[in-house]
């Protein structure tokens, strides 16, 4: 670096007037097949990036991002599930010595210890050896932790009712329902609305909007039940049953 007297600057600035040559460093004397980052290796990185991006965009196009119905704080029957990468922590909280009175153990102490150990790994594994075979304890604990994370995530996913959670969050179709219609009063009188919702949008039972069932099928379900719905909920006359089934059939999305 040039210093002292004789330095020339650009105008009244502090930028030196003599240009430095813009030539890449020479790596030929470096050991092995060392390559310059710019431009050759950067081009290779971009090719890897392009392939990755194509794969990523395929995933994005195939699987649209999920959106459930708008948050309803009054609906307390909803069973929440965290994003998949928190499932192992969620599963941990289900075990009896990590929940209830021991909640602090599952929620804070175990994850806290694990993450603190991860943060302080360089100070816990202090030996000079780098090869995995020469660090049995560090590698052993890490393998145990990874196996634990995989196992807990698997358990959480296997014990979750994905079908039910899809239904409880589904965006509900709303239809214009004529509440003055005598058929609507038949529904009300037979207690249908308590499970299927006042707008038939569904609650603990499925929605009755756009069911795509025939009148006969609707009549059969009303009398004989289906799934969790018991038989003999409908207590009216045959004529009322026919009228009600036709009413439900009519409701379009």
């Amino acid at each position: 670096m040039q210093r002292g007297k004789g330095m020339k600057f650009v105008g009244d600035s502090r930028v030196p007037a003599n240009r430095k040559p813009n030539i890449p460093k020479d790596y030929s004397e470096y050991p092995g097949k060392t390559e310059a980052f710019y431009p050759d290796f950067l081009l290779k990185e971009w090719m890897v990036g392009a392939v990755f991006l194509i794969g990523f965009l395929c995933l994005v196009v195939v699987e649209p991002p999920p959106l459930e119905r708008i948050a309803d704080p009054t609906d307390t029957s909803y069973i929440p599930l965290p994003d998949w990468y928190f499932l192992f922590l969620y599963q941990l909280l289900k075990y009896s010595y990590a929940s209830g009175p021991y909640n602090v153990i599952g929620a804070l102490i175990i994850p806290g210890l694990a993450f603190t150990a991860l943060l302080l790994a360089p100070f816990l594994d202090r030996g000079p050896e780098r090869h995995p075979k020469k660090r049995p304890f560090a590698i052993g604990f890490m393998l145990l932790a990874v196996a634990g994370i995989f196992y807990l995530t698997w358990e959480a996913a296997a014990h979750h009712d994905w079908e039910a959670s899809k239904q409880q969050g589904a965006i509900r179709e709303t239809a214009d329902i004529d509440k003055e219609d005598p058929a609507y009063q038949i529904l009300e009188a037979n207690g249908c609305l308590s499970c299927h919702g006042a707008n038939l949008e569904g609650a603990s039972g499925p929605p009755l909007v756009g069911t795509e069932l025939s009148v006969e099928e609707i009549k059969d379900i009303s009398v004989n039940g289906i799934g969790n719905m018991p038989a003999d909920i409908f207590q009216g006359t045959e004529e009322e049953l026919q009228r009600m089934a036709e009413f439900i059939k009519k409701i379009e999305k």
Partner: protein
């Protein structure tokens, strides 16, 4: 033409030393997949950064439509997804990117751990890396609430319950995050929005800057 522009700027600002600092660094043989295919494990860190860039860009476009208000948040997301041209793609990139970045970061962490690359003199870079991991998890957690749908609200309630179970400061922490001692509502959404869009990205960029500065200063760890 480009050379002339470069020289014009260089004459005034002397950018050549800066540019050579960025461009000139060696890629040793053992990390170059062109020489040893198994060196693809060294790609995970770079791909993590690539997904972070995707997240920032797609997030900026999401912010053009998103309204952080409990009355309109869900509707704005629904509109973005179903009415806006390519809105579903942009939201999809942000949604799936949030998962992919965790996967890539996990793989990168395992690579560094199993190779013992965090040992002296690289302890500080490991710590910064783990802090980046925490910031990423926090970004995932706060971003989960923003669509204001059923799972967003209920998962956040669970998160806040866990925060509250922290000994001594649990109650205060919860109030800090949710804006109220009991209610998870309007203020919670705006707080999570601010944390997700301003506080955490600022922390993330600072930490990533440190991460890169240290790797350039020390060079990548040698072969095993």
């Amino acid at each position: 033409m480009l050379n002339k522009i470069y020289n014009w700027i260089d004459e005034r600002l002397d950018i050549t030393p800066l540019w050579r600092d960025v461009a000139d660094h060696e890629v040793p043989e053992h990390v170059n997949p062109a020489h040893h295919f198994s060196a693809f494990v060294y790609c995970f860190g770079g791909l993590t950064f690539f997904v972070v860039v995707i997240q920032i860009l797609s997030g900026m476009f999401l912010a053009m439509y998103y309204v952080p208000d409990i009355e309109r948040a869900w509707d704005s997301v629904y509109y973005l997804q179903n009415q806006v041209a390519y809105g579903q793609i942009v939201r999809g990139m942000h949604h799936w990117g949030a998962s992919i970045v965790i996967v890539m970061m996990f793989l990168h962490t395992l690579r560094v751990f199993f190779q013992g690359a965090y040992k002296k003199p690289r302890e500080l870079n490991w710590i910064v890396g783990v802090l980046i991991f925490f910031v990423m998890l926090a970004l995932g957690l706060t971003g989960y609430l923003l669509p204001w749908d059923m799972k967003a609200l209920n998962a956040t309630k669970v998160t806040l319950d866990i925060v509250e179970s922290t000994p001594l400061i649990g109650g205060m922490l919860k109030t800090l995050l949710s804006g109220d001692e009991y209610i998870v509502g309007a203020e919670t959404l705006t707080r999570f929005f601010a944390i997700h869009v301003f506080f955490l990205p600022a922390a993330l960029l600072g930490l990533i800057g440190l991460h890169f500065l240290m790797i350039r200063k020390q060079g990548i760890s040698g072969p095993l």
